[in-house]
């Protein structure tokens, strides 16, 4: 009997732990979603500055860009993706903010 009672408490704790862990994961992923979006925007900005002379914004000395560009393949990919989705940015924003 004693053992059974403890089992119930343990089960309750297990369910509670599960409940909170699910909440935890969902919150974590929510936080990361926004941060990931931010990182992408920053990476996009970084490589955009490198290619400033193409976009017409003031750019760093070209030799600085020339030294960095070979290491920025990921960022250039991000830039391309952002450019592709740029005319759909409203829906991007809506999905980020959970608006249906």
């Amino acid at each position: 009997m004693h053992g059974g009672k403890e089992g119930v408490i343990a089960r309750i704790f297990r369910y509670l732990r599960f409940f909170f862990s699910v909440m935890d994961i969902s919150h974590r992923s929510k936080v990361v979603e926004v941060t990931e979006f931010e990182v992408k925007e920053l990476e996009n900005l970084f490589v955009l500055l490198m290619m400033g002379s193409f976009t017409g914004v003031p750019s760093p000395p070209s030799f600085v860009a020339a030294e960095l560009l070979p290491h920025l393949d990921h960022e250039i990919k991000v830039l391309n993706e952002r450019a592709k989705d740029s005319f759909d940015s409203l829906s991007d924003m809506a999905s980020l903010l959970d608006i249906d």
Binding site: L42, P60, H71
Partner: protein, 306 residues
């Protein structure tokens, strides 16, 4: 190692005076390298030697001479960048598209980058070999742009480092929350020590900081050469303002081609130029006869203020 820059309007006697100063420093027992960055070189004419970008010893003395060809330096700089571009875009070769990169030669600013790269290399490599490096600079505008470049570059690199730090911090946060940072199989750096871009930025910062420190430091002197006439006065004023704005140590002003220091023009020019600049010493240099084959030898003691 000390460095001395000679600046001034075209034709005021930068090359002659830098040669004379280099000669006097050598006579005083120093190992001296005299470098010309002026595209219109005349060091060779002054010392009656054929000079190139390689150092040449002057008549078994401790004076060494070199003429840095800015165009050649620019070409070297472009060549280095081209090989990188050609490596990245090697697939363009079959279509002969790689030739299109040749237009890079005409991009603005290349000459300045080449000059500052050459200067950085010179300071780094010759640090131990000479007591003095005397530099004869190109005309005012280009000189100011070259001297401003390290500071502009460092300012840019600082902004980029700040932005990069933000990216890495955010990546780190994501990594902390979700485990290993990975995106579609590519492992991305989230710490500063692992990030190649950050490393490159820090490297560059160190390099240009070193040049900037060298230019601003006690070991460096900027000298200005001017003549007793109003045209040279106006340009010298602009040059001095520029040098001060760049935080460079302006130490000596050589009043060159003087005939009569008591004359009204000479006194007015000197007064106007040095008005409010108490830290700059003035040296009077009297007209030199350029037909003399050894015009770098002068009676005036030019190095007492350096």
């Amino acid at each position: 190692m000390k460095t001395i820059f000679f600046t001034g309007k075209g034709g005021v006697g930068k090359s002659t005076l830098s040669s004379a100063v280099a000669w006097q420093l050598m006579e005083a027992g120093n190992r001296v390298l005299l470098v010309s960055f002026d595209p219109a070189h005349n060091l060779g004419d002054i010392f009656h030697m054929k000079l190139s970008h390689r150092k040449k010893r002057f008549k078994k003395t401790n004076l060494f001479l070199q003429e840095t060809n800015l165009e050649q330096a620019a070409n070297d700089y472009i060549e280095a960048n081209m090989s990188l571009l050609n490596e990245v875009y090697s697939y363009m070769k079959p279509f002969n598209m790689d030739n299109y990169f040749n237009v890079l030669k005409y991009s603005p600013g290349v000459e300045e980058y080449a000059a500052i790269t050459a200067m950085e290399k010179l300071f780094r490599e010759e640090q131990e070999n000479y007591d003095y490096i005397v530099i004869d600079t190109p005309p005012t505008g280009l000189t100011l742009r070259i001297l401003a470049l390290p500071r502009i570059t460092v300012a840019w690199i600082d902004r980029l480092i700040k932005l990069r730090k933000q990216i890495l911090e955010k990546r780190y946060t994501i990594h902390k929350i979700t485990g290993k940072y990975s995106e579609k199989g590519t492992k991305l750096a989230y710490e500063e020590k692992d990030d190649t871009v950050m490393r490159k930025l820090n490297d560059m910062r160190e390099r240009y900081d070193a040049v900037q420190l060298k230019l601003e430091g006690d070991e460096n002197s900027v000298c200005i050469v001017f003549n007793p006439d109003y045209l040279s006065l106006r340009e010298s004023q602009r040059l001095m303002d520029g040098v001060e704005e760049l935080n460079l140590p302006l130490r000596v002003a050589y009043h060159n081609k003087l005939k009569d220091p008591e004359s009204e023009v000479a006194q007015k020019v000197e007064h106007e130029l040095l008005n409010g600049r108490s830290g700059v010493k003035v040296e009077h240099v009297y007209t030199i006869d350029h037909t003399e084959p050894t015009c770098y030898i002068m009676d005036t003691d030019l190095i007492q203020s350096l």
